[in-house]
């Protein structure tokens, strides 16, 4: 039996639950999923200005916290924190280990960078329905979703830590299973079973009560010390999910069922680079406190093409916010929005249709689907997409200037600008992309 622990479910995730698992979890593998669709492209933008950067900014902090807590030679670490610069990330992990005085072999999986391939192939972009060459925006990154094979190869080198760039999230967990159990590349039922386990663990705290809790319908105890989950996976791919005693949260059939279906638009055909998994036969059974048995996955042959995330430079986003409260809060916020809109066009030359207005507190999150009646307070948020930083800054400036030039009682103005990215997708034939493993020489 192999025990896989979830160390992170996104780039900004908490660190202490991973330390707790590393210390008390008796893990064989601790896996950190730290790479969103946008994160690789953002990393690539950073790398263009500083060639040593481009990987997860929290990687070193995570490793500094976790490496001293794991049992050497027992618990191995797998992470996609390499983002847009896996080799630099591998060197950073080696440097952290050296600083801690812990001999650590680091292997890096590259090969997801598909920039040259897409430039040559000119594939159809999903979002536009046109060839890539017809996109006006500047392409800065193209990363293919690799499968578990590169991780398997990296573990075969005897590495203590495996760092990757873009791989399919469940593959981070499937890789160790391929390595340990030597499942064949076309053993679709087991690859699907391992993929289900990976899918359940990849968002870490979302399996143990995070993103689940509702104080009335779904109470979860101890959320400030939410425990991250682990899975004991057997050679046939069935598994028992668990979390540490005395950690916060809950793990039961309800939390598992919600997470099984999270972001899954086709439960009968969950596409990954390793297998097409069918979740429709998956079932859960509680076998103890915070212990759930999972099985029933089915698998079909993997697709011939791999998904590629394309990152484009997308200009600037400017933003400003201000609050109104009490009688006519909504009406004053609406007046304020009109004033800002008029001035952004007339004084600063912005395009009217690039300006967005949200009245937070009136059902803005529901995008007009369920308008609220008279709220006690309304927070106006104005945004605009612009081609340059100066016009983006005008948005916050105009909102702030409402203090002395706008409706009565406007308070708490805030402003900001950021460079934006546009993320799109396409496919490439899988034989154009292959993983390469590099062992960091210490």
């Amino acid at each position: 039996m192999i025990r896989l622990g979830a160390g992170a479910g996104f780039a900004g995730d908490r660190i202490d639950p991973a330390v707790d698992l590393a210390r008390r979890g008796e893990l064989d593998y601790l896996v950190f999923e730290c790479l969103g669709e946008r994160t690789v492209a953002a990393g690539q933008l950073r790398r263009l200005t500083d060639p040593r950067s481009g990987y997860d900014p929290l990687l070193e902090a995570r490793m500094r916290a976790v490496l001293p807590a794991v049992e050497p030679g027992r618990t191995r670490i797998v992470t996609n924190s390499g983002a847009a610069n896996p080799l630099a990330a591998g060197r950073a992990v080696a440097a952290v280990a050296r600083g801690l005085g812990r001999p650590t072999k680091v292997a890096v999986v590259t090969g997801d960078d598909a920039l040259e391939a897409v430039r040559r192939l000119d594939p159809v972009v999903w979002e536009t329905g046109e060839p890539l060459s017809r996109c006006d925006d500047e392409l800065v990154s193209a990363n293919a979703y690799l499968g578990a094979d590169g991780i398997r190869q990296a573990l075969a080198t005897g590495a203590d830590v495996v760092v990757t760039g873009r791989v399919a999230d469940p593959a981070l967990y499937l890789g160790p299973l391929l390595h340990e159990y030597a499942w064949a590349d076309d053993d679709w039922p087991r690859l699907a079973a391992g993929t289900v386990v990976g899918h359940l663990l990849e968002c870490a705290g979302q399996l143990t009560g995070g993103y689940f809790a509702d104080p009335v319908t779904k109470p979860v105890a101890g959320m400030a010390r939410l425990g991250f989950p682990f899975a004991d996976v057997r050679p046939d791919g069935t598994a028992t999910l668990g979390k540490l005693a005395e950690s916060g949260g809950r793990l039961d059939v309800r939390t598992c069922t919600e997470q099984l279906l999270y972001e899954v638009d086709q439960p009968r055909a969950y596409l990954t680079p390793d297998v097409v998994a069918d979740f429709s036969g998956v079932s859960f059974r509680e076998t103890g406190t915070d212990r759930v048995e999972v099985g029933g996955a089915r698998g079909e042959p993997r697709p011939d093409e791999l998904k590629v995330t394309l990152g484009f430079r997308g200009g600037w986003l400017g933003e400003g916010q201000i609050s109104y409260a009490g009688p006519r809060a909504r009406e004053r916020a609406e007046l304020a929005a009109e004033i800002v809109r008029e001035r952004l066009v007339a004084v600063h030359g912005l395009e009217a249709d690039a300006i967005g207005v949200e009245l937070v507190g009136t059902g803005a999150a529901f995008r007009g689907l369920a308008p609220a009646s008279d709220p006690l307070e309304v927070r106006l948020r104005v945004t605009a997409r612009t081609t340059d930083a100066v016009r983006a800054e005008a948005v916050g400036w105009e909102v702030e200037s409402l203090y002395t030039n706008g409706p009565a009682g406007g308070g708490g103005a805030r402003k900001g600008t950021q460079q934006t990215l546009v993320v799109r997708s396409c496919l490439v034939p899988r034989d154009l992309v292959a993983p390469t493993v590099t062992v960091m020489e210490d």
């Binding site: 669709e37 993103y211 689940f212 279906l261 638009d265 079932s283 995008r367 945004t383």
Partner: protein, 106 residues
């Protein structure tokens, strides 16, 4: 004493988890009992969900009675998604609770 019966809401029968894929909102509806599943299977038709989210493109529903769960694929709701939408919640994570507010006709 006269009482006015409050209409039954999805919130009374199920939990909902939202996920995103580009412009598409994915709603996993998790009825709290087999009876609740039967009621929701009857009332949460793809058309009803499309009307509730004001989308014109077809909503796709997957039935998973043994879990039990219903999964809805609601296209175009997220207009731009995480990177393209200027509003605060580009993921549409808050939108699961909009489905909970939907009335289930008796």
């Amino acid at each position: 004493m006269e009482t006015t019966a409050r209409p039954t809401l999805v919130d009374d029968l199920a939990d909902v988890r939202a996920g995103d894929k580009g412009d598409t909102l994915i709603l996993a509806v998790l009825p709290r009992s087999e009876e609740a599943y039967a009621v929701l299977e009857r009332h949460l038709t793809p058309d009803a969900v499309a009307r509730h989210y004001a989308v014109t493109e077809p909503v796709v529903r997957t039935e998973l009675p043994h879990l039990p769960a219903l999964v809805f694929r609601v296209p175009s709701v997220l207009a731009g998604g995480v990177t393209g939408y200027s509003g605060l919640d580009g993921h549409g994570k808050t939108l699961s609770y909009h489905l909970l507010m939907m009335t289930v006709e008796p």
